[in-house]
Point group: C2
Chain length 254, copies 2
DNA sequence: TTTGGCCAGTTGTCATGACAATATCAGGTC
DNA sequence: GACCTGATATTGTCATGACAACTGGCCAAA
């Protein structure tokens, strides 16, 4: 009758919830709902069953169901309206930018990533690097410069500085696994990152590395990443070939 | 003794909570805590009082206090660790990118924004526009093209398409208030936006409008915005002078 | 001295219950 | 027919209680 579908889909896919496993219930539920949305089982504009009824059918409390739904709302896939209900957003499927590295991005899109390591050295921190990493000027840092390739085509030139406790990182690891994977394997997990995205004209050096013409446009990203305790872990200045890479950001008003 | 301050600040600033007002309690609490962080009253690295004790002292339940804290964690200002407590992040204050327009951004940074309206017309949707807005190809849309200036210096060239119900928008409103303000005044509130950020070389036309050299680098942003019901409200292709504008994104790993 | 286990502190998850705020819709009244 | 009104449905907010999981430090044993 109205614009949006009124049939609340049955969704009898929740029979296998692990109530004693390590995975939170709300996460199990949100994953299943999200999967249903992305697979088209819950088409755009369709209404979700209301929180109370859904919880009753799954044998879960309303806060648990509510949190599961909220997770998906935060991703921008669902919209809730008081007095109305919860709907799948119209428009195309959106993917939120997550805290991952370019290496992860490329593997997720089924391209074959590889790395040329240009520089791997200990370097005294200059003013800017010291400020970003929260260390004293002149203190040692690990400095690396790499070219990232996807299917053997250069995509990005990446320059990074890390605090001195990472100076032991080996070249082989970086070529094989990407920086964030190496850091994760050393027990460091990124928690917050602050990025600046801009553009500028390429230098001759960068143009050569990226196999593009001199003075052509580059997409740039500066990032400072922090770990669980809020300590700066990495400061990076990256530049990307704009014809091969762009950033996708999904914003949700609260 | 340890790395971080152990003194849990007293914070006797919560005496004026409005329990019957329209503002949620968790929001009142989160605002006060955030203010304390930004003002330096809660310095970087300091520990927050634990959830249970804070709730008891304020006469609030733990879920309410917890939600207040979570709001700030989502902004990247606090970090919680099980078994440890909640700390103010080290590093600089970060500001999350929000769902605002360039006009709002400029007024927030105390620059004086103005607009040159180049085009305001009804236009049949081409394939791409139709797909983005979720309308039929060839159906009427409102097409506008503007130059945004900050302190009389051109910053961006913005081209937008809106569904046909906005065709009545007048030129005077756009020059005076910015697109998003005009839409808000017509009862439309943006809820979700999907943005692609990239870079490319300027055309001669754009270079002239932005008062930069031909073939210099531009920062570009394509956006599709959706309202409360998930319907596409706006599709825009913008390009910015990279020396005057950049995007800031704060990412938080969950 | 070093190692291991125990204990207290803190956040993470989940359940139950209640009331408020808002949107839709049907019906009645002017 | 237009407008008001009330009933209904749904999400928003908040309280209380309980247990699990993780961290760090203390203390005893090897």
């Amino acid at each position: 009758m109205s614009v949006q579908d009124k049939k609340t889909l049955p969704m009898e896919m929740f029979m296998d919830l692990e109530r004693s496993g390590p995975i939170p219930l709300y996460f199990q539920v949100s994953q299943r709902i999200e999967k249903a949305i992305l697979s088209g089982e819950l088409p755009a504009g369709s209404r979700l069953e209301n929180e109370v009824a859904l919880g009753q059918r799954l044998g879960l409390s309303r806060p648990t169901v509510r949190r599961a739904i909220q997770e998906i709302v935060d991703k921008g896939l669902l919209v809730r309206r008081r007095g109305i209900g919860t709907q799948v957003v119209h428009g195309q499927v959106t993917r939120k930018v997550e805290l991952t590295s370019l290496y992860d991005d490329l593997t997720n899109t089924h391209k074959v990533p590889s790395t040329h390591l240009l520089t791997l050295e200990s370097q005294a921190a200059d003013v800017r690097t010291a400020e970003r990493l929260g260390v004293d000027e002149g203190s040692p840092t690990l400095h690396l410069r790499r070219v990232r390739l996807a299917d053997d085509v250069p995509v990005a030139v990446m320059e990074n500085w890390l605090p001195k406790e990472f100076i032991g990182i080996e070249a082989a690891d970086l070529v094989a696994h990407g920086l964030y994977q190496v850091l994760r394997s050393r027990g460091v997990t990124m928690r917050v990152a602050r990025q600046h995205i801009g553009a500028r004209t390429s230098t001759n050096d960068e143009a050569g590395l990226l196999e593009i013409e001199k003075n052509s446009a580059l997409l740039t990203m500066d990032r400072t990443a922090f770990d669980n305790s809020g300590r700066a872990i990495e400061f990076g200045r990256h530049c990307y070939r704009p014809d091969l890479y762009s950033f996708e950001v999904t914003l949700v008003e609260k």
